[in-house]
Amino acid sequence: MTKKTFIETLKVGLAKMNISDFDDIIRDYETHFANELAKGKSEEEIASEIGDINQILADFAPEAIPQKESSGRGALFTGLVISDFFVFLFFVIAYILILVPIALFASGCALGIYYSFGINIISVFPIMPYWIGLLFGLDFFFLGLIGLSSIYYYARFLSWMTRKYRFWHQSVLKKTEKQFIGLEKSSRIMNKIIVYSSFGFLIFAVFGYIIAAISAGSLEFWHVWDWFV
């Protein structure tokens, strides 16, 4: 193929694809030929080195070239802002809710200390014999542990949701591929803590009730100890 045939074929092909400024493209190939000819190569040689002309035309096809940012992007942006607003509110609430397991942990520990050590100074809390208080105190410690592991699980869930939203946000904005954000494996220690503390909580609750009922001589021992007077 001579230089002339090559350039002509390219022109016709580009014009067919409705590329109006094909001169701009042609110029690069003209320069290419000029430089290679100066090296002493033949036109045929140069044309064959450039590569398959159909492949070149395919590379210039509009669908091979991403179009300039369209008006659709404005709508996308507005949509993102609106979704960000609601998602932000959702996240605020979701983050505040972590106070629930924290409160469970704190109150479990506090009541555990209160009853295990037989402090009995705050009149609002029911008074009970020390040994039964110890049983219930330990029960509260287990409740605290359940609270502690709940903090861990909930925080993990929050961080996962946050990452997932952030990546979704990025992929929409940059039109990149969606990325799979998995939830990483939870810590084995935490898994053990939640299982054992749940068992401990149940066992001590039942055990505490039985002992209290025997000691008070009534299944409704709270009446015997005048809790709700």
């Binding site: 003209e30 320069t31 290419h32 080195e49 398959d52």
Partner: protein, 106 residues
């Protein structure tokens, strides 16, 4: 070298070269094909694509001998893209290396 490897990285290489200085198409094509075997026409569609995306602009410059040359210059948008793509490429290479190493040890 695997053609798919090359295709993914040519945009990055072109932007890298233009970040140092303005160059004309033939110059870019020549420089790259000295180290990576590509057919001579490969670079021009890429330059066109980068221009369409607003990462480079062109201007004509009279040369002492021969016709006016079309020079390519990187835009600010192109510079941002370069920073980002460079990092993506580095991360990508690191991940590939890690996975390959893990499997070699088995």
């Amino acid at each position: 070298m695997n053609i798919q490897f090359k295709k993914g990285v040519l945009d990055l290489l072109v932007l890298c070269m233009l970040n140092t200085e303005d160059r004309y198409g033939y110059d870019i094509s020549e420089t790259i094909s000295r180290s990576i075997s590509i057919s001579a026409g490969t670079i021009y569609p890429i330059l066109r694509k980068l221009k369409e995306e607003g990462f480079v602009t062109t201007y004509l410059s009279e040369d002492s001998n021969g016709p006016a040359r079309k020079y390519y210059r990187i835009t600010n948008k192109g510079k941002n893209e370069l920073v980002q793509t460079k990092q993506e490429w580095k991360d990508f290479v690191t991940i590939v290396a890690v996975i390959m190493e893990e499997n070699e040890n088995d």
